[in-house]
């Protein structure tokens, strides 16, 4: 089979001695036997460390868990600075976790955690921080400051936690460049290797935010040509 890899804006074609293989195995074959300068991130090989997210024919995948076909084009994640070949700088994007303050702020003494509570945030806490959702998010293209899907899902995970006494602080921190900027297009959900539904999480966060007195800023500033929206 043949695959093409985007290396510094050039599509380089490689011939591989496989009929069927995972992308990661193909990349290691190239690095070990064809060109040791090919650069990409990977670690666990089994879909849990989140290091090897990249794009195949425009769609985000984990290289270790994705089977490739002849003719596929491999590219780095979008909206991250490309360091070299398929390796991207994740430091700036991971900072969205600090912006959204995704942790327990104020822990309730002796809070009861039920099996249902754990079930409620089970999917959200499956996140492996591979950044696939961020790369797939069209909002980031128009607003580079958008907090993005994985940080918002993580915010929701802690808000759902019965140990959290100060849910409002997290809610406060995801209003600007956060939940209301999302277009609910669902691209994040479509690419998540862990099957996390960030679109739904963001919808839930919006509804929760209204309970804390927030409202959709897009809605209140909407002007339908009558000089002042609905007011």
């Amino acid at each position: 089979m043949k695959i093409k890899i985007n290396r510094d804006q050039n599509l380089v074609e490689y011939k591989l001695p496989f009929k069927s293989t995972t992308l990661l195995k193909a990349l290691y074959h190239i690095k070990d036997y064809i060109d040791p300068t090919l650069t990409f991130d990977s670690n666990c090989r089994s879909g849990i460390c989140g290091a090897c997210a990249m794009r195949v024919n425009g769609k985000e995948v984990l290289a270790c868990s994705h089977k490739i076909d002849s003719g596929d084009t491999i590219e780095p994640l979008k909206y991250h600075k490309v360091q070299k070949d398929l390796k991207v700088d994740k430091k700036e994007v991971i900072n969205t976790l600090s912006i959204a303050t995704t942790w327990l702020h104020n822990q309730k003494e002796n809070a009861t955690v039920t099996p249902k509570d754990i079930k409620n945030s089970e999917k959200q806490s499956d996140c492996i921080l591979c950044h696939s959702c961020y790369s797939a998010c069209p909002v980031v293209e128009v607003n580079p400051n958008f907090i993005g899907p994985f940080a918002l899902t993580r915010a929701y995970r802690y808000i759902l936690d019965p140990r959290e006494e100060d849910k409002k602080s997290i809610i406060d921190n995801i209003q600007n460049n956060g939940i209301w900027d999302c277009t609910l297009c669902g691209e994040c959900t479509a690419v998540c290797p862990q099957g996390i539904n960030s679109k739904m999480d963001i919808t839930m966060l919006r509804s929760l935010s209204t309970q804390y007195g927030y409202s959709d800023p897009n809605f209140t500033t909407m002007d339908f040509g009558f000089g002042g929206g609905f007011s």
Partner: protein, 536 residues
């Protein structure tokens, strides 16, 4: 100056950092990968604590089980310290927000793992390590702990056995840097990746911290003890969890015959499989009789992994498997304070250390417990004993390392491709220093490793760019792998007995004279070793 420099950003490093910060120390965490891309994320089964939430349990039983699995090669004080601290460790993790599964009466749920006399492992579905690691990371962000990713450890800075920090290759900037610190903690993980293509471990588990301690004159111990997991996929070495056998899966050979009680301990089952493979048989995991509905409900991850990585459908086909390296019990030799023997102000914690807890064989659920409980202990202990000495630190090591890296860019020719040599070495280590060992084969392998070492000057890197050069990082890892492989083979050679995970066909029993730790260290480039009797 930094009070505590912590090298390694897995569960051990993050726990140490959080605890040190809690006790007021000034901490810097550094790692070669992005923080959450660590081996800790791969731990599935659980973290042991004798809470007795499901079945009767107590600290003494936990100690007893751990002792039994260690086959004598352990220190009761360290085991007692870890097991006694286990309930508090779980309480701490729970407080930080780890989403442990719950029982119907809202207690932390616990499950049975191999070798445990009670349902002792607390878990978060099959993602226990992942969820612990990520919760620790979130808490590091919360506490503004400074983390520098993409720094590859080169060498410790040592003057008269006192460690004063370390040098690193800055992967992003493409330069050698020095970080000075009053105390240095090595939390860099195990060395399972030396068994390239024959390990469940992440590619990064190359024992960098262990090799750096060795080069600095610190002691290593029990490196020959490596736990092999019986069921990994044959061609990719991806782990198929024990639950597949726990739920009733069979092991069969090419003739379709079962050859072992599948529920025996990991070392025994691994040896039985190895023996079948040696006879020329293939070995398979057979779960077809469980039926599609049950399989998809009980082990969806395993079914998926077999489909992707092995191209077989467990519902209708046999899954080809082999035993592979899974956990390295040996490591940096430490005292009761986890301070490295042979050095001062340098500590080791987690899989890279040999705290004499797991001994000759690790019990499932004890590795996560070790990294968290010992990490917390270490962070607190160092923080409460900080010195305010003014350190005089030279840049001698920095200059040596700069010169070496420069020579890699300018002089080393890449005539020999080290990637291919590494693949080959992994295969040889698996065959000859793996599940069943033989002195002749070990001797041949030792010679082979020395030949490879003598050829280093003909290797080097092809990529001559300084920034983001993974070719360079891989080569530096390869040098560490060679050092550790040599020690592993030599320590396997000198231990003429069978104990836990170390098995020699010619010496099938435990021998009293080897109730001792194999200690390796280096002085003036010469490697020394001796056995140190287990403290009774």
């Amino acid at each position: 100056m930094i009070d505590i420099l912590i090298i390694g950003t897995g569960g051990a490093g993050l726990s140490t950092a959080l605890s040190a910060k809690e006790y007021g120390a000034n901490v810097l965490l550094v790692g070669k990968n992005y923080t959450t891309n660590s081996q800790t994320a791969m731990a599935q089964g659980g973290i042991n604590a004798p809470l007795g939430n499901i079945t009767q349990d107590n600290i003494q039983l936990h100690i007893k089980d751990t002792l039994k699995s260690a086959h004598g090669l352990c220190d009761l004080n360290m085991i007692t310290k870890m097991c006694s601290n286990a309930p508090d460790t779980i309480k701490w993790l729970d407080k930080l927000g780890v989403p442990f599964d719950r029982t119907i009466d809202n207690k932390i749920s616990q499950r049975q793992l191999g070798g445990a006399s009670s349902k002792r492992a607390c878990y978060a579905q099959d993602y226990t390590g992942l969820k612990i690691l990520h919760t620790l990371y979130d808490n590091c962000l919360k506490n503004n702990i400074e983390i520098k990713d993409e720094l590859f450890l080169l060498n410790l800075i040592v003057e008269n056995s006192r460690v004063k920090g370390a040098t690193f290759w800055d992967i992003e900037k493409g330069e050698v840097i020095q970080i000075n610190a009053q105390n240095t903690v090595i939390a860099t993980g195990g060395y399972g990746a030396i068994y390239k293509n024959h390990t469940t471990n992440a590619n990064s588990s190359t024992g960098d911290g262990i090799a750096s301690v060795f080069r600095a004159g610190g002691k290593l111990s029990d490196i020959e003890f490596v736990q092999f997991h019986p069921t990994a996929l044959k061609h990719s070495s991806i782990l198929i969890s024990e639950s597949a056998r726990g739920e009733g899966g069979y092991l069969v050979n090419s003739k379709g015959e079962r050859f072992i009680n599948e529920l025996l301990s990991r070392d025994i089952v691994s040896r039985a499989i190895a023996s079948e493979i040696k006879k020329g048989n293939d070995v398979f995991l057979d779960v077809r009789h469980l039926g599609e509905e049950k399989l998809l409900k009980l082990m969806p991850q395993e079914v998926n992994l077999a489909r992707i990585h092995e191209g077989v459908d467990p519902v209708t086909e046999l899954i080809p498997i082999k035993p592979v390296a899974h956990y390295t019990m040996g490591g940096i030799d430490v005292n009761y304070n986890l301070e490295v023997n042979g050095l001062t102000n340098c500590y080791a914690v987690g899989e890279c250390s040999n705290a004499k807890i797991h001994g000759a064989n690790r019990l499932g659920g004890n590795s996560l417990l070790e990294i968290i409980s010992m990490g917390r202990f270490l962070g607190q202990n160092i923080s409460q004993n900080l010195s305010t000495d003014k350190l005089d630190i030279s840049n001698k090591q920095l200059e040596i390392d700069k010169e070496f890296i420069q020579s890699l860019f300018q002089e080393y020719p890449f005539e020999l491709n080290f990637y291919q040599i590494y693949n080959n070495l992994g295969e040889k280590l698996y065959k000859y220093a793996g599940i069943v060992r033989d002195n002749n084969q070990l001797n041949n392998l030792l010679n082979k490793i020395r030949v490879i070492k003598a050829d280093i000057d003909n290797m080097g890197i092809k990529d001559k760019n300084r920034k983001h050069n993974s070719n360079l990082v891989n080569f530096l890892e390869f040098l560490n792998i060679l050092d550790i492989s040599e020690i592993l083979v030599e320590s396997a050679l000198i231990r003429d007995e069978s104990r836990g995970a170390h098995y020699k066909k010619a010496y099938p029993k435990e021998e009293l004279i080897y109730l001792a730790h194999s200690i390796f260290w280096q002085e003036d480039k010469t490697i020394y070793n001796r056995f140190e009797k287990v403290k009774s």
